[in-house]
Symmetry: C2
Subunit: 417 residues, 2 copies
C-alpha cells in the first residue's frame, strides 16, 4: 500500500474513532451529541497536524484553513462527520477525509495556493436524530430558520435548542455563523454515491448535475381503538388495516411510473407510528411517513397527488378517515454549470471513467449552492449500501476522489509549485 | 337517583381517582406502577369503610374479607383496577365496584353469611405495559412462571422484577401468594362485555360459557436498510413493502372464514415495530404482532397456519425473508357448568334479559377456573368500546350486575337475614 493510501486508511480509522474498523454495529454519532463533538475534536487534531489553522464557528462547524491572500474569497470544500443510528463509516467521512488528503497531497508536493483553501467539517447534517438536516451548512449560508426548529424534539424529548447548548453552542449567536457572499468563491463536496448508478455504468467518478430534493408526506389514518378479542370483525375501524395497502401500492406505483419516465423517481413508506401499538388493542391511529424524490420536480409532485387520491379511495372503501399533509416540498437543486464542466474535465484528464449523473440524496452542497457556485463529486460504494454498518468504499475509489479534489483545488486556488 | 346508585357512582369516581370523571384522555394506571398502587390503597379504604378486613398478599393482590366460619372454604369474587394506556373507567373497575356494592347491599339488608366472602382486587391484569397479563391471579392459583417473566422489559427497559420491587413486593416471596385448593370454594368475576353481542341481542346480562384465549404470532420481515433517495426501486429489499399486505389480508381472511363458521374468529395485526423508522432510510426490518381468538381452538390454529402460508408466499414474491414465530398458543377456557347454570337462573329470576355467550377477551377468571369452579358475568358497555377513554357502562347496567352478584353470594355463602 502506498504511503498516501496508508495515510488515508489511518485517518479514516481515526475519524471513525477506532483502530480496527471492526464495527459490526456501525457508527452512531448523532447530530449535536458528545459523539459528534469527539469526532470534531479529532478532525481539528488531524487538520492541525497538516499545518492548517482550525476554528469553530457559532453553529459548531469546524473550519480548517490553509491561509493565503486574506483579501481574496476562499476556495472551500468539505462534508460532515455525524451519522445515522448504526450508520456506516463513509457517509460524510469520505468527503472530509478526501478534502484533508487533497490538502496534504498539495502540501507534500510543495504547492502554495494564492487563495485561502478552507476545509469545512459541517455540523449536524443527518436528519436521523431530529428529522431535520444540514443545520450547519444552512447556518453558514444564513438560511437557518432558528425559530422553526428550536423546539423540535428527539426521541427522548430533548429539543434542538437544548442539544445545541449541550454541544457547547450559544443558541442566540448561531446566526452569526453566516458567511458574507464575498468571502467564499466556490464550494466542493465529495460523497459516496449511496446507490449503484456508478458501478452499474462501470464508472469510477460521478460528477453531479442535479440533486433530487424530497417531497415528504405524512399520512394519518384515524379509526377506533378497541379490544382485539371482543370486537367482531364487522364492527371495526382498524386504522392499520385500512391504510396498510398504501405501503406496497407506493412501491408498485413508483415502479410503474419509472417504466415510461426519463428521470427516475423513488418513493418509500419509511416510517410508521401506530397507536396504541398494543397486542390486545385494535390500532386506532396510524401515521405513515412517505419520502418521494426525483430531479423531475413535476414528477414527484404528481406522485404526491397520486398518494392523496389513493388515500381518498382507501378512505371511502374502509370508512376510516385518512388525511395527507405535506411535510417537505423542496425544488430540486441544480449545481453550478462551470464547476461541473471543470470537474468533468479534471476527472477525465486523470483518466478516470467519469459519469455525469444526478443525486437522489440531499447533501450540505444543496445549501451552499444557494449562495456560492458549488459542485458535488461521487465515488462508488459497495452494492450501493449506505446508512448501514456494511457501507464500504475502497481505498482505490477514495484515492481517485482525492486526485479529483486536488486537481480542482490547484486550478481554482492559483499559486504554484 | 337511588342511594344505592349514588353510592355506586361515588365509589366509581373514587376508584378512578377523580371527582368529576372528566377524563377525556381516559385513565392510565399501568401494572405495577404507583398509579396502580394508589388505586389499590383507595380500594382498601373503601372496603374497610364497609367493615371488611383488608390485607395484601405476596403478589400485591388485595383481599377484602367479610369473615364468617374460618374453617369453611371462601366464596370469592373480584376483578382488577389496572388499565391500559389511556384506557376507560370500567374495564376491571366495574367488577371490583359491583363486588363491593353486592357486599354493601347484603350488609345493609342485615344478611349474615355462613362462609367467608372475599372480594379480591387482582394486581397486574393488563398486558399493556409488559406484554404479559393476569400476573396476580396466576400467583393466587400457583401457576405463575416467575423465571419466564422476571426479565421481561417495559418500553423504558424496566423489568417485571424491578417493577415488582418498586411496587413494594419481594420477588423471591411472590410464589407464597398461592392459595391452597381447599381454602376457596368458588370464584366469580363481573366484567364489561367490551363488545356488542349483548346490545345487539337486546340482553342486559351475559353469562359466559367459554373464553377465547389468543394465539399470538410475531412476524419478522428482514430486508435491507438503505438510503431512500439513492436506491433505485429495482435494487431494494424493503421489509415494510414486502410484509404490509399481510395487515389487510389478515382482516379479509378472518371476514371470509366467519361467513361459514359456527364460532366467530377475530384476528388483528395490532402491533408494528419498524427499523430504523427514519424518513430517509428504507425499512430494513419489520415486526408485526398478530392476535387471533376464537373459542374454537382448531379454528384459531388453522388461521395461524394460514398466516404462516401467506407469509411464505409474500417471501417468495418479494425476496424479503419473513419468519413467523408463536408467542402465545393457549386453549380456550370453559367455565364451570353448575355455576353458569346458577348464574343464568339467578339473573332470569331477577327478571333480566339474559344471554349465554362466549368471551373474546381473557380475564383473571381464566386462571381461577383452572383451580376453582368459576363464573363470569358480563354487563353491556356503550357501543362495545373498551380500552379507550370513551368506554362507558350505565349505572342501570352496573346495578343489574350488583343484583346478580348479591343473589349468587346469598345462595352460595349460606346464612340468613
Amino acid at each position: 500500500m502506498s504511503d498516501r493510501k496508508a495515510w488515508l486508511l489511518e485517518t479514516l480509522h481515526i475519524l471513525n474513532g477506532t483502530d480496527t474498523m471492526d464495527a459490526s454495529d456501525g457508527f452512531t454519532r448523532l447530530s449535536f451529541t458528545e459523539a459528534e463533538k469527539a469526532v470534531h475534536r479529532q478532525f481539528a487534531v488531524t487538520a492541525e497536524e497538516l499545518g492548517l489553522s482550525v476554528r469553530s464557528d457559532e453553529a459548531g462547524n469546524q473550519w480548517a484553513l490553509w491561509e493565503a491572500d486574506a483579501s481574496a474569497p476562499m476556495i472551500t470544500l468539505g462534508s460532515h462527520l455525524d451519522t445515522v443510528d448504526n450508520g456506516g463509516g463513509y457517509d460524510g467521512v469520505a468527503g472530509v477525509l478526501t478534502a484533508l488528503a487533497a490538502v496534504k497531497q498539495l502540501k507534500d508536493s510543495g504547492y502554495q495556493p494564492k487563495k485561502t483553501i478552507a476545509v469545512i467539517c459541517f455540523v449536524f447534517e443527518e436528519s436521523a436524530r431530529f428529522g431535520v438536516s444540514t443545520i450547519g451548512s444552512k447556518a453558514i449560508t444564513g438560511k437557518l430558520d432558528k425559530q422553526a426548529i428550536a423546539d423540535v424534539e428527539d426521541r427522548d424529548g430533548v429539543t434542538i435548542r437544548e442539544a445545541a447548548k449541550g454541544f457547547g453552542l450559544d443558541w442566540g449567536a448561531i446566526d452569526e455563523a453566516a458567511v458574507p457572499s464575498n468571502r467564499i468563491e466556490s464550494f466542493l463536496e465529495l460523497h459516496i454515491e449511496q446507490g449503484t448508478v456508478l458501478p452499474d455504468s462501470g464508472c469510477e467518478i460521478g460528477i453531479v448535475h442535479g440533486i433530487a430534493c424530497p417531497v415528504r408526506l405524512k399520512v394519518t389514518a384515524s379509526g377506533m381503538a378497541n379490544h382485539t378479542g371482543t370486537t367482531p370483525m364487522d364492527k371495526r375501524q382498524d386504522a392499520f388495516a385500512a391504510v396498510a395497502p398504501l405501503v406496497q401500492a407506493v412501491q408498485q406505483e413508483a415502479f410503474k411510473r419509472n417504466q415510461e419516465a426519463d428521470q427516475q423517481l423513488v418513493a418509500t413508506v419509511s416510517t410508521v407510528n401506530l397507536k396504541p401499538n398494543a397486542m390486545n388493542v385494535i390500532p386506532g391511529e396510524v401515521e405513515l411517513g412517505i419520502d418521494i424524490r426525483s430531479v423531475d420536480d413535476a414528477a414527484k409532485r404528481n406522485f404526491a397527488a397520486w398518494v392523496k387520491e389513493h388515500c381518498a379511495e382507501l378512505e371511502s372503501e374502509t370508512g376510516v378517515n385518512i388525511d395527507v399533509s405535506t411535510l417537505v416540498n423542496n425544488d430540486s437543486v441544480m449545481l453550478d454549470d462551470p464547476i461541473r464542466e471543470k470537474l468533468l474535465n479534471v476527472s477525465r484528464d486523470l483518466g478516470y471513467r467519469t459519469l455525469e449523473m444526478n443525486s437522489g440524496a440531499g447533501h450540505d452542497v444543496m445549501n451552499m449552492q444557494a449562495k456560492w457556485p458549488s459542485g458535488l463529486v461521487f465515488i462508488p460504494c459497495k452494492d450501493g449500501i449506505s446508512h448501514h454498518p456494511a457501507e464500504f468504499a475502497s481505498m482505490e475509489d477514495i484515492d481517485r476522489g482525492v486526485q479529483v479534489l486536488a486537481a480542482f483545488l490547484k486550478s481554482e486556488a492559483g499559486g504554484e509549485n
